[in-house]
């Protein structure tokens, strides 16, 4: 009896060990691509990277940070770049994100391209100016029941140059078996305060990064992020502006409006802040103050789920209906949107229906 138990356990053990050993050996022998050269922007920089991992992470190791909101899962399509040589075939994951023109231009998703041989790639020059920052968390202030504001003091490098509306990628630390991830958050502070950075973050239930921010990140701790990224910023026209953002989507708008004030840009601006109920509102006093100081600025908070018998005297209803009521004709306006894909799609639909050319709508989608 004992012998048969020993034999079976020993056999299973041996079986597992042999197969695992075989796989480890195979991975070393078969998937060893050696060192590959990555030529960036026709010789501007040539990197030696260890083959076998994704182009996105290989570049990040070499301090070139391609924007990516999903962390390399192939779902945000932010990490597009041109791979002129050596990228291999377009994989099934990236196919849906590439238009026929982009395919012709050899555009790929950096997270889906594996470095297997020497590569020639092209990236926008401004990505060279993206760097990785070390900062200290000065304070973490709750704004509502599920939104906090982080204020960071930059340590190294000790200042950052960005345009209001851009975003950074925060790196979460490992906790309780969850791996470190990078997630994009818009900067809510103004560019003139270049030694500090503020972010507004809403808790995503079970989100790896936001759970870390809410439950594990302590004031005084060190924080890593890279940036600035993104093309969401004020255009240099004179068109009147409509901003629509709810929840933590307020961040880039808060930065842009205050930046306009500092720079003396007095384009007529209306900011529609959509929320569910009164407990989801924040920065009301700050915006009211801004409204008094700047005659060109108007702040319209609107609640969609506020009980009818509450004391709320402001706007009610879906944010898109409220916008439509205020601006039945949007043909002369520009719009700046930030929020969930659903809210953005709905807003774009209303704005274009009221006459706005689609080229005048600028937005940042955060899934």
């Amino acid at each position: 009896m004992l012998v048969s138990i020993l034999i079976s356990v020993g056999f299973l053990l041996a079986c597992g060990l042999v197969l695992a050993g075989l796989l480890v050996l195979a991975e070393k022998k078969i998937l060893n691509y050696g060192t590959c050269h990555v030529d960036v922007n026709a010789g501007r920089k040539v990197l030696d990277v260890e083959g076998g991992s994704s182009l996105l992470s290989s570049l990040a190791e070499q301090n070139i940070f391609i924007p990516s909101a999903c962390g390399g899962r192939g779902s945000c399509a932010y990490c597009k770049l041109k791979v002129q040589e050596g990228g291999g075939m377009v994989g099934p994951v990236e196919e849906p994100y590439l238009s026929p023109e982009e395919r012709q231009d050899h555009v790929r998703l950096a997270c889906q391209v594996k470095v297997r041989r020497d590569l020639k790639i092209e990236i926008p020059d401004e990505l060279f100016s993206v760097s990785r920052f070390r900062a200290k968390l000065l304070h973490k202030k709750p704004l509502t029941h599920d939104i906090v504001e982080l204020r960071l003091q930059l340590l190294e490098p000790d200042s950052i140059s960005f345009e209001a509306g851009q975003y950074v990628q925060l790196e979460s630390a490992e906790y309780k078996g969850r791996e470190s991830v990078m997630r994009g958050y818009s900067i809510s502070s103004v560019p003139s305060d270049n030694q500090h950075l503020e972010l507004i973050i809403r808790r995503v239930p079970d989100g790896i990064c936001t759970t870390w921010v809410f439950d594990h990140l302590k004031e005084g701790a060190e924080v890593l992020f890279s940036g600035p990224y993104g093309f969401f910023h004020l255009s240099d026209t004179q068109a009147p502006i409509i901003c629509i953002a709810g929840g933590s989507g307020m961040a880039p708008i808060w930065a842009i409006v205050r930046d306009m004030k500092e720079k003396g840009i007095a384009r007529p601006t209306t900011y529609f802040f959509g929320a569910l109920t009164q407990r989801d509102l924040f920065f009301l006093d700050e915006f009211r103050k801004l409204e008094q100081e700047c005659p060109w600025f108007k702040f319209v908070p609107a609640l969609s789920k506020e009980p009818a018998d509450s004391g709320w005297t402001g706007e009610r209803g879906l944010i898109t209906d409220v916008v439509s009521r205020h601006f039945p004709d949007t043909s002369k306006h520009e719009a700046y949107l930030c929020g969930s894909p659903g809210m953005i799609d709905a807003s774009v639909a209303v704005l274009t229906k009221n006459g706005m050319p689609e080229a005048n709508v600028f937005y940042d989608k955060f899934a």
């Binding site: 034999i7 195979a26 099934p92």
Partner: protein
């Protein structure tokens, strides 16, 4: 004496192949491997890719598991461990093949290789390895059984993929769209395959 032993080599090989593919279709008659089939059969090309991958892996692992069973488990009197050993062998084999394909041909990897992790723990593959032990097969006959079973699965998912591609264009009632109509389709197809049963007895 089994009827198979009386036949010539080729005819027994063919008979086993056909019976595994049609009368005993692993997807339609035994309803194994349904999860990956439902997940991937939205388009014909992905269906074909997954189907081919499954066919290749079932054939190879049936042969491999036959050897493991006959020359390791039987002599050691550990037949009762076949379930767990087969799972490990299949998992290791698919991983290994994925690595090799990735290295050898990117084209093959993109069309076939990405499905291999999906079928690492596919019950159809394990099912074929286990069912083949119920019959007194020789090594080549076991291989034919694996190949036939895999081909049957390939055939079924290719058909389902084709039907789903057409059905997606139709105006379906909301509650029926997606998995609902797919299961109805599979049910009707299964009826057709059940019609084969009893035609070949081995």
């Amino acid at each position: 004496m089994t009827p198979l032993a009386d036949m010539g080599f080729l005819s027994s090989f063919l008979l086993i192949f056909v019976s595994a593919a049609f009368t005993d279709n692993i997807l339609m008659a035994r309803f194994l491997g349904m999860c990956s089939c439902l997940g991937v059969s939205k388009k014909v090309d992905t269906s074909l890719g997954l189907g081919l991958a499954v066919m290749f892996v079932t054939a190879a692992t049936a042969a491999l598991n036959y050897l493991v069973y006959q020359y390791l488990l039987v002599p050691l009197h550990l037949e009762y461990l076949r379930l767990i050993v087969f799972i490990v062998v299949i998992a290791a084999f698919t991983q290994l093949v994925e690595m090799i394909i990735e290295r050898v041909s990117e084209k093959l990897y993109n069309s076939l290789g990405i499905f291999l992790p999906l079928i690492t723990v596919n019950c159809a593959i394990l099912g074929i390895s286990l069912f083949m032990l119920n019959k007194p097969y020789s090594f080549l006959q076991a291989f034919a059984f694996g190949l036939g079973g895999g081909f049957g699965w390939f055939l079924a998912i290719a058909l389902i993929g084709g039907i789903r591609e057409k059905i997606n264009e139709a105006a379906l009632p909301k509650g029926l769209a997606g998995p609902g109509i797919t299961l109805v389709v599979i049910g009707i197809m299964a009826l057709a395959f059940v019609g084969f049963s009893g035609m070949i007895k081995i």
